[in-house]
Symmetry: C2
Subunit: 209 residues, 2 copies
């Protein structure tokens, strides 16, 4: 498999963690987002949405959207599982993941921040926008798991919730958010003990700068 | 089951379609979003994110996030299926659904439009923001399925992609988007022939105004 992504992209980061957790070998192709390489003709042929990541399978099939890719990986490489067995528990994990992957990250990605800067003429307004979006999103996430056992978001196994959390916490730090979430920080720390999370970390990618 | 939602909420609309397609009986509780009822204490006890929908099961369990709810319904009421059997096809359907449910709808929901209006002091700027977000999102969706057979988004069965499409097309009209998507319009028209989509339509809800 080949992962078309970027070291700092939160959505690419999610897929890297899932690939590492499942022990799937892959190669990287890097697209520098600030230079618009994800809107190049070559990349748009892979994903007309012009967003990383895209996962190219060995037969040339291209999958897009990080959560759809994680579900695919879960279906074809079920071990170790990224979701619990019980349907209600699965729905809780998915809801936490989507609170980040639907309601938080896409509202503060580079494309949106560029639009906010164009609208206001202020880079600081864009940074503030990102910070508020992340704080609102992670405030809700903290409450979603405050009654759950640790050390991870949902008990003693890593799930899709942790994958989304760890990638979002990186953005939280980058934009100077107030890290006021003890339960989320503890889950993140537990994840960062694991080799898969270390290998997938943005700073450890070949395209990191 | 009780669906806590609002007739005009795109995410509530998705869950209604899924419930209707699967023939699951449910009752409605309505929260008027423009009046902030989704941020009432009563609703925050159901969903600390303060977003509709929330699906309350008969045992009191509350599920949130429309796509997580659809996956739950798919797991406990598998017929008729909302996803194909093949993992690659499932991933394609999910990616289309997420192009709407992650990258489009949450960037133009009421909460975000209120923030844009506060930032710019202009209601027109917020409407423009919504329109551009929807046009960008559905431009990509049109390309994602241009090589797929109809009449629905992915062939001759309704999937999660159609559920997300139909709810988003309602917003496209509401915000005056340029409906320049022949393939999407055809899929929407095919869906609207079906009783389940008719019953789930915003205009046919008891709280419609």
């Amino acid at each position: 498999m080949r992962l078309h992504g970027f070291f700092r992209s939160g959505a690419s980061h999610r897929v890297r963690i899932a690939l590492e957790l499942k022990g799937i070998e892959y190669t990287n192709s890097s697209y520098v987002l600030r230079e618009g390489e994800q809107r190049s003709e070559a990349f748009l042929r892979l994903n007309p949405q012009g967003l990383v990541p895209a996962l190219e399978l060995d037969d040339g099939t291209v999958l897009t959207q990080s959560l759809a890719i994680c579900d695919y990986l879960e279906e074809v490489h079920p071990e170790p599982p990224l979701l619990p067995q019980d349907p209600v528990r699965r729905a809780k994990v998915r809801a936490f993941a989507q609170a980040i992957a639907c309601d938080t990250h896409p509202v503060q990605n580079l494309k949106i921040l560029n639009r906010i800067e164009a609208l206001t003429g202020s880079e600081e307004a864009a940074t503030q926008w990102a910070r508020q979006t992340i704080e609102d999103g992670l405030d809700a996430c903290e409450r979603l798991i405050e009654a759950e056992d640790g050390p991870f978001c949902f008990g003693d196994s890593v799930t899709l919730a942790d994958i989304c959390l760890v990638s979002q916490m990186g953005n939280a730090r980058r934009f100077g958010a107030d890290l006021r979430w003890p339960r989320l920080l503890a889950a993140e720390a537990a994840c960062n003990e694991l080799t898969a999370f270390q290998r997938a970390a943005p700073a450890n990618q070949p395209d990191a700068s």
